[in-house]
Symmetry: D2
Subunit: 296 residues, 4 copies
């Protein structure tokens, strides 16, 4: 393996906190960023799925990108997906101009893409802008998987393919990304409960939603880097997995919002169609937060 891939990443797919007036809560973002520095995450990913990018206007998206970029020295991975390829390109150029380090892009969604459509879409985006890109595989939302050989092809043809975020939850797919011969791109796990198995296979790190709330996933990465396998395993299986189940006991991504708001003592808003978790779920999340606090 390329030794430069030995540095593991733990990146936060940030929530986009709202006020009770349904406006973006920049004060809460500040609190989040400050926390992430303390957590020692290696990068910040605004406008991912956890950041509910499809529910923001273009203006809001640009404003969020700018705010994150200007508030932190951490590497910024800016989500730039849209159903309209021209808006995606526009956002990627904006992110570049704003000084972001990477742009993250999903395949087209709603009207699902076949291989030819995905190839054409990614080629148009990659060639339009010289920012470094992460491809974002999340078939449960886009309706199609990015084929492993398309990723290899794009990585060979375009120098700005930096990596892939795989949120499919399919370890077999993830594993195949790692066997590609002279891999030149990073492979990051997008599901918190699959972080340790992914590291054990040679994955380059994780983009883990729980890091909005707790440094526990950063600890797994650090234990793994020290090859403290048993300690990493316990954190993963006994702490992260139950916490993740609690957060997902309410429909994604509402549990992450409830948990984040609770963790900063804030009573934030839930933009339509997101619903505040019901009492059974809220109480599971409260318990999970307590468990995390006791651990520290």
């Amino acid at each position: 393996m390329n030794p430069c891939l030995k540095v593991k990443e733990l990146i936060t797919p940030c929530v986009t906190p709202f006020t009770n007036l349904d406006e973006i809560d920049y004060a809460a973002i500040s609190v989040l960023i400050e926390r992430l520095v303390r957590f020692k995450v290696t990068g910040i990913f605004p406008l991912g799925s956890t950041g509910v990018f499809p529910w923001l206007s273009l203006d809001e998206k640009k404003s969020v990108i700018t705010y994150f970029r200007n508030s932190s020295d951490l590497k910024i991975y800016a989500g730039v997906s849209s159903t309209d390829v021209r808006e995606t390109v526009d956002l990627a150029k904006f992110a570049k101009a704003a000084g972001c380090d990477f742009a993250v892009v999903t395949p087209p969604y709603y009207i699902t893409a076949g291989n030819a459509e995905m190839k054409s879409y990614f080629e148009e985006v990659l060639s339009s802008c010289d920012i470094d890109f992460f491809l974002y595989n999340i078939p449960q939302f886009t309706g199609s998987v990015i084929p492993v050989d398309l990723i290899e092809y794009l990585s060979g043809e375009y120098s700005n393919v930096s990596g892939i975020k795989d949120s499919s939850g399919d370890m077999r797919y993830f594993s195949r990304l790692l066997t590609t011969g002279k891999r030149k791109f990073k492979v990051l796990q997008g599901q918190d409960d699959l972080l340790l198995p992914s590291l054990s296979l040679g994955g380059d790190g994780g983009i883990c939603g729980i890091s909005n709330i707790s440094s526990i996933v950063v600890r797994i990465k650090e234990e793994y880097e020290r090859q403290e396998m048993d300690s990493a395993r316990k954190l993963q299986v006994d702490l992260v997995n139950p916490v993740m189940d609690a957060l997902n006991s309410s429909r994604f991504p509402s549990g992450y919002y409830y948990g984040f708001y609770a963790s900063i003592g804030n009573n934030g808003g839930y933009r339509t169609p997101m619903q505040k978790p019901d009492s059974a779920s809220s109480s599971r999340i409260d318990d999970a937060l307590k468990m995390l606090n006791e651990y520290r």
Copy 2:
């Protein structure tokens, strides 16, 4: 059954034709509208999935709605879906102000919705604007089915629920929409090959993509209205189904674009990520068009 539901609909989910410079081809839209009047369709649905609404900018969407409204006396069903509920509401208000007859709205997509999320989303949209709405069930693109009892609930609470377009292809679901007691809304089939079975169950008509190209689906509706069941059956099984298979031999919706362009002697454009059908598929579609011409 409410006798006023006996009038069957055959509505066209219009393509949005493009020029080779990737601009919307309004001249081609004119040709389409003229044709639809001749075909005797009962309504026009711009900005549906066939109209590739997710690939248009907000300005383009408004311009397309205005153009359709101003170019035809037929009833206009304007697609207003967006991932951002505020844009959906904005478009519905725009459609109302432009003089459209109906607005058509899908559930949220990308981040998929549960029942509570869908309810909240539809309630916000329905109460924001006094245009009459059709709900649009298309789980293959939105990732979730609109529950039958949610439709009943919304129809009871909001006077502007006019109907539902079901493009799921699931006749069992379609059938359950028809059994709802004192149904006050129309139920339209969104899959051309299920038109006759849907009419036979008491469905109120179809929103059929083939009507961009041929009046054959209007003929099925007319034969059914005359209770010429055998004639309707032959048109459905021997003509519409093979034509539909040909159009779908290229990834949706490219076959409809190729077929439409060919039918007006135009060499139009394919906006990214749509690809022009390959030669095997093109030639199947050419044959299908010949078959339709010979029938007439």
Copy 3:
């Protein structure tokens, strides 16, 4: 269409009633057969999925086939599926020798079959025995769909392919079975709620579980034959569909067993792993039976 296909079928996929000692209740089978003659069904299908063939021993299967054959002059369609092709052939030969009219066979299950595997399996079965066969498409249980072109191929090569029972619930698939050029085989619908749409497309009839309990589905067939479309539609949508929903409110096929036992005033058994419907479901089924009785 071949005029001989104009005769519509309504066949009963029979339950295999059990006593409380977990033995096959032949007395209850007698009551069932007597009823089916009265219902004017056109055929009897023992050892289908409703007949829970996988839960019977080989001896029980043979005994059931013999009993049905010897107790009725109606056409007998004997289920002969097994995971072991040699047992399937054995059962088909047994059914032939017993005087059954047809044998009904699914693709291999558990280890799912691709097209080549399915072709090889069906060819071995069809060529091993000169009984007439119905192929049985039920992908929800076998894990694979019988390809339309494989059915056409087998129908062309083997003179004993009499038809197909499609229980997939996929009207698009069903519809494609009907468009095959010089079709020489019957196409029967296996889902009660899709009976009328299937007839309207030219399907040859239905194999409908509700006919274990009520003649209502026979009535739909008769109304359709008389081209009394509105009457057929009302029976389908307002009566059969709610009854089917009630029967399926308990896990398949327990609702059919409960309903059958209730309809003959018997308190029959549920072989493991089948469970007696819980009280909510039982009471829905009781109501459905009342609704059927009031209709008559």
Copy 4:
């Protein structure tokens, strides 16, 4: 973790080799068993899915169990699944009497089971026979997942629940099996390409089809036990995964049969419906075998 769980397992789900006359090839089984001792596998699992149990007669199953038991001192995990619960119980008793160490049982298949059905089925089997059981989760073949809490319940109520083989390929599910509090059962991975990630999470080993052909998966287990993580990773990603892809380039389980026959210089048979791999797939498997030989 219970220290006794620290011993990792690597068990072979054995092929059932056939002669060209479609008979079970006991001489080939002898060769296989001899090899497995040399490979240092920790157990032998005849009559699993790789052993194509559904295609064997009851007599063949018993004969295979007896042959394996009498030919080896390794622990024998005998597959006892059937669609008929009474045959499952019969086989479990037979395996016990024959001196097998464990019986392995799937949920019911074809007619898929809900939770209540699965519970009733497993309870009947577990209480019928005092052999130790492994539950076998393979939803791609049975159509239903064994719920994690059902496994916990059964493990609490029945002392003969020794473990679970999870072949779902779903690492999230596998992971949840490991978080169950005071786990008293072993959790084994049934997919070769997920062996190392499973070990890294605390799984108790694997039941890996490649061990019919090569000791490479045993080596991964051994490297893991020595905590040689990088070496284990390379074997998994660079060797096992490509070999597995080659074996699965032909429809399961034909690649395992072709590979096994090739590895013992035998030209064995393929029982219907299994097909000999086509030339493209055969040549991929030949290359994979060469790669394995070069590694040694």
